[in-house]
Symmetry: C2
DNA sequence: CCCAATTTGTTCGTATGTATC
DNA sequence: AGATACATACGAACAAATTGG
C-alpha cells in the first residue's frame, strides 16, 4: 500500500509532486531496486484515487530525475532505474548554469582532485588500463597546427582525465572529475577559446601525461601526484589568460566525453 | 517562436520530454533569466500544437529539474527559476543513492577539499563571519555525555564546515563541501553511528576549529590548511571504525544543514 | 504476417481552485 | 464581493508501441 497523501507541509506541493514523493518513499521503504516494476498506471490511479493525468505527471517527475523509466506494451510499465551518470551530470550542470563559475573556480578544484586521483591510482592499474590511457594520448602525438586541431587535442586531453577517473574505485571522486572535465569540454567547444594555436599548451600536456603513465605503472604515488599537480598548475596558467566566465550549459542528457 | 519538434534523434523521447527540451533551448536561445515568464499554458498548447496534458507534463519535467516554477492565478504562469542548492543537492543525492559510497570515499575527497577551502579563506573573512563561525562552535563547548548529544554535536560540526563553505567565493567548492556535509549529516541521523559517546571525537573537533578560526583571523593560510588536514585525517580515522557503507538518501528537496 | 492483448501515450472537454484586481 | 486570468485536476475516449500467438 502506498503512503497516504497528506498535505500538512507548509510548502504546498502540487498533487503530482506529492504523488511522486509518495512513490519515492514507497520504493525506498520496500527496498525496491533498479529493474523493479511499479504498479501500472491504472493501479496507481486506484491506489491514490487520482486522475490519470495526475499520476502521469508524477511519473514524469520521477523520470526527469532519472529514477524511473517507462516502457509501453505488454510487460511494460514503470521501472525503478539507477540514476545514470549522464543524467546526474546534466542535472548538476543546470545548477551551475546559474552560478557564474570562473576558470579559477574550476581549477581550484581540479588542482586538488586530479593529483589525489593520480596518487590513489598509482600501482593499481592493470596493463590493459595503462594501455588504454596511452591510446588516448596518441590523439595529440604531434603539436596542433590549427585552432580546430588544438580544440580537438584539448578535448582528447580531457578525455584522458575522464578515463583516468573512471578507473578510480571511488564513485565520488570519479563523478566529480568527470563532471568537471565535461564542463571544460563544453566551454571548449561552445566558445572559441583557443582561437589561435598555442604551441606550448597541449603538446606539453603530452609530456606530462606520458610521465604520469610511467609513474602509475611504476607505482610511484608521490611522483604521480606531483606530475599532475604541476600539470594542473600549468593548464590553469594557460587557460586563465583566455577567458574568465564560463557560460554553462543547460542541456538534456548531454553526451559525456 | 519555439523551436520545432523534430523526432530525428535515435533515442526516442516521449513528446513531453521533447517539449521540455524545446522550451529549455528556447529559454537559453533568448537568454531569459530567472523570473522571466514563459507563455501561458494555452499559448504553449497553440504554439506546440499539442494537448494540454502533454504541455503540462513537459512543465512538470522542467519543474522537477528545478528550472521553472509555476504559480496560479492572474499574473501567474510558469517562470524561469534558478536551480536552488537544495534541489541540486537532492538530485545529485539520488545519483549517489545507487553508488555505494564508503566512508573512505567521502573522506578521500573531504581530506583534500576542506584544507583547500580553509587556505583560500584565510585572511579574507570579516569579523562578523569569524564571529558566526565561533557561534556554531559553542554548540559543542563541552563533551557529549549521551549518544544523542554526540549526534547533535556531530551535526553542529558539519554545520560549521557548511558555513565555512558558504563563505567561499568559489561556487563549485562551496557546493561540493556543503553537499558532502549534507550526506554525512544524513547518515549520522539515519543510522545509529556513534552509538556510544566517543569522548575523544568531537570535543577534539572543538580544539581544531578554534585553532582554525584563529589561523583564519590571522590570515595564516598555511596553518589553516594544515589544521584542517589534520582534523580531516582524525575524523576519518575515527569514523572508519564505525561503518563502511553509506546508505544514501532519496529525498525530495531535503533540508540543508 | 497479422491479430489480439496489454500497457503507456495523447487528446479533448469540462470543472475546480487560486490569486489579483 | 464579484469578475478575471491563470494553473490544476478529472474522466472518458482514442492512439501508439510492444509482445506473444
Amino acid at each position: 500500500m502506498p503512503p497516504a497523501i497528506t498535505r500538512s507541509s507548509p510548502e504546498r506541493l502540487s498533487r503530482p509532486q506529492q504523488v511522486a514523493e509518495a512513490i519515492k518513499s514507497w520504493v525506498m521503504a520496500n527496498g525496491w531496486g533498479p529493474g523493479h516494476r511499479l504498479p501500472s498506471e491504472m493501479d496507481l490511479i486506484e491506489r491514490f484515487s487520482m486522475a490519470k493525468g495526475t499520476i502521469r505527471e508524477a511519473i514524469r517527475i520521477l523520470e526527469a530525475q532519472g529514477l524511473v523509466k517507462s516502457r509501453t506494451g505488454p510487460g511494460g510499465g514503470v521501472f525503478v532505474h539507477q540514476v545514470s551518470e549522464e543524467r546526474a551530470t546534466a542535472l548538476l550542470g543546470n545548477y551551475f548554469y546559474f552560478q557564474n563559475l570562473t576558470i579559477d573556480d574550476v581549477y581550484q578544484i581540479r588542482t586538488v582532485l586530479e593529483p589525489e586521483l593520480a596518487a590513489s591510482l598509482a600501482g593499481r592499474l592493470s596493463e590493459a588500463q595503462l594501455r588504454a590511457l596511452e591510446d588516448v594520448m596518441t590523439c595529440y602525438a604531434e603539436p596542433a597546427r590549427s585552432a580546430q586541431e588544438e580544440r580537438e587535442q584539448h578535448i582528447a586531453s580531457l578525455r584522458f582525465h575522464a578515463l583516468l577517473a573512471e578507473m578510480s574505485g571511488n564513485p565520488l571522486l570519479r563523478f566529480l572529475i568527470r563532471f568537471i572535465a565535461n564542463m571544460l569540454a563544453d566551454i571548449t567547444v561552445s566558445r572559441k577559446l583557443y582561437a589561435q594555436p598555442n604551441q606550448e599548451l597541449w603538446s606539453s600536456g603530452l609530456d606530462y601525461q606520458s610521465r604520469l603513465v610511467a609513474a602509475l605503472r611504476k607505482g610511484d604515488s608521490a611522483a604521480a601526484r606531483a606530475i599532475l599537480a604541476e600539470h594542473m598548475h600549468n593548464a590553469h596558467r594557460l587557460m586563465r589568460l583566455q577567458e574568465t566566465v564560463l557560460t554553462q550549459r543547460f542541456l538534456p542528457e548531454g553526451k559525456i566525453i
